[in-house]
């Protein structure tokens, strides 16, 4: 019987007397498919082919079947479906839209630390899918990260790096540094070559002082005193460029951040709803969720609602459904 096996024939062939050289191995490999006289003995993890060749010496070939051996999975994306996707798009089939945070996210450094701000709208193409989502993610007790781009990517990446930072804190016994988070994020994003679409504004205060960074999906980073990202970044940057100066107080900083986010909310379609602010100082952080609600929703109709009088109950009748299962008491025990 000739068995079809997806092959990666290992190069360790042994005869009774010793190992073969490469040339003989090639010959045996090519012949392994042709000779029908090979009979197969099934062992635990591999198929042993006992081949009888022209030279009439018996070779024992260990053949690895992909189906049988556990191959450790390779990391990274698998690009198997790329060709199929290309073919589909040529035929006019559109890829389904994914949830993005067309966004305004900002950060600035003030005299005591860092302030981060974000809007709260999440969009799926032209549809607002979340009117009050959280875009400021926790990384460490002293580090927070705003995320723009694909919502799943930003959440997964910040979650993963937050876990890594926690382990690092256990091992070193020290507070995490912002540059550590920065480096972990950028090396992850770079290794995925921009396919992980997460544009981040990372800010925090550690033993070396306050830090603010931006991280682009391809893995490049900037270190800045004030930064904006997302589809509303230009609107927000306009506000920062005209009003930012060094040595802002906490109140001034929060007001400036709120103004910049509002500018993004009102002038950019991809941003909207409310303003989230996070203030990080040495040893203390304040997460001001929904600090401003410039887009309140009015539910009440001006005329008011009138409800008809409740209907009286005239008759109550309960009809129990028949039980499908009949329980027979004292039946025989189940026979094997």
């Amino acid at each position: 019987m000739q068995r079809k096996v997806a092959l990666k024939i290992t190069t360790t062939l042994c005869t009774k007397n010793g190992c073969l050289d490469a040339g003989t191995i090639e010959r045996v490999q090519s012949l392994a498919f042709l000779i029908p006289q090979a009979f197969v003995a099934n062992t635990q993890r591999s198929l042993h082919w006992f081949l009888r060749l022209r030279s009439s010496s018996i070779f024992q070939v260990c053949v690895m079947s992909k189906a049988v051996v556990d191959v450790p999975p390779k990391g990274g994306f698998s690009f198997d479906l790329c060709r199929r996707n290309e073919m589909l798009s040529k035929k006019g089939v559109q890829t389904p839209p994914f949830r993005k945070t067309g966004t305004t996210i900002v950060g600035l450094v003030f005299q005591d630390g860092v302030i981060l701000g974000a809007d709260t709208r999440a969009t799926e193409g032209p549809i607002v899918c979340d009117k009050n989502c959280e875009k400021i993610h926790y990384m460490a007790p002293n580090i927070y990260c705003c995320g723009a781009g694909t919502a799943a990517d930003t959440e997964a990446v910040t979650d993963m790096v937050s876990s890594q930072l926690q382990l690092h804190r256990y091992h070193t016994g020290r507070e995490s540094r912002v540059v550590t988070a920065l480096t972990l994020l950028k090396s992850h994003l770079f290794s995925y070559q921009g396919y992980v679409q997460a544009a981040l504004v990372l800010g925090g205060v550690d033993c070396t002082g306050p830090h603010l960074h931006t991280i682009y999906p391809h893995g490049s980073t900037d270190t800045l005193p004030f930064a904006t990202m997302g589809s509303g970044s230009l609107a927000a940057m306009a506000v920062f460029e005209s009003k930012y100066h060094e040595g802002l107080t906490r109140e001034e900083g929060i007001n400036l951040v709120s103004e910049a986010i509002c500018s993004g909310i009102f002038n950019d379609l991809g941003s909207g709803s409310n303003v989230d602010v996070c203030v990080i100082t040495k040893g203390h952080k304040e997460y001001l969720r929904n600090h401003q609600l410039p887009n309140p929703r009015t539910y009440v109709s001006a005329k008011g609602y009138s409800f008809p009088k409740p209907i009286e109950v005239l008759l109550t009748k309960v009809t129990p459904l028949k039980e499908k299962v009949e329980v027979i008491e004292g039946g025989d025990a189940m026979e094997e």
């Binding site: 290992t10 635990q44 993890r45 591999s46 260990c62 690895m64 051996v69 556990d70 450790p72 979650d159 993963m160 876990s163 926690q166 382990l167 256990y170 091992h171």
Partner: protein, 226 residues
């Protein structure tokens, strides 16, 4: 004794049905510094003696009691380097659990996973993918260079089920204790604990009892309580 012929191979049972290497590992634990744990009504205490080889050793750099999660800690008796490996793996497992379920890992789960790691190392293979098929045909003493861990751990934690104390042995078996001791002088310590232990002990009482137990002949102490 027939056992001695089988005492070097980890992966061979002796005629009396024991894995002699694990017995030896327990001996290694028994010659380590004493450590003990006491479960109180509202918390758990674990304590150990921090005995340094000389006065020149920087005391602050020696950490025998480690934190695994904000509500679980561990102390060991036996070989320090082995415990470091286990602590590292346990921390990672706790963190992975948290990422997956977004809740802090219950004490029993963490103990179970740590015990599973220790058991792995008592069977040849320790999960290392060493040349797949080669492993199946190469199994004389070729246990890929693994040996059992030479530590017993006392894991103390506080979760939804209240305060808990577990002991994990080199074989991978784990037990829940109200109070336990390991290492040198273990029989004296256990007798002392048996006499002193009450079910409704307060945490402060438990700390006091732990100190007294260790105090029988020891100088330095390191305490951690939850």
């Amino acid at each position: 004794m027939g056992d001695s012929q089988y005492s070097f191979s980890l992966t061979t049972f002796s005629p009396s049905g024991k894995l002699v290497q694990i017995e030896h590992a327990l001996t290694a634990v028994g010659s380590g510094q004493t450590s003990l744990g006491i479960k109180a009504a509202n918390g758990v205490v674990i304590a150990t003696e921090k005995k340094l080889p000389s006065i020149l050793v920087d005391e602050a750099s020696v950490q025998k009691i480690q934190v695994l999660t904000p509500n679980i800690g561990v102390v060991y008796s036996g070989m320090g380097p082995d415990s470091r490996v286990l602590v590292r793996k346990s921390r990672k497992q706790a963190e992975q659990y948290h990422r997956l379920y977004k809740e802090s890992i219950p004490v029993t789960q963490l103990v179970r996973e740590t015990a599973a790691v220790m058991q792995e190392f008592t069977q040849s293979g320790s999960g290392r993918p060493m040349l797949g098929w080669l492993q199946t045909i190469l199994d004389f003493n070729g246990n890929c260079g693994v040996r059992p861990f030479g530590v017993s751990l006392l894991v103390a934690g506080f979760d939804d089920n209240g305060p808990q104390l577990y002991q994990v042995d080199p074989s991978g078996s784990y037990f829940s204790w109200k109070a336990s001791a390991m290492g040198k002088n273990v029989s004296n310590a256990k007798t002392f604990l048996e006499k002193r232990y009450t079910d409704d002990m307060e945490l402060d009482d438990a700390v006091h009892t732990a100190i007294l137990t260790l105090k029988e002949g020891y100088m330095h102490l390191k305490l951690l309580f939850f």
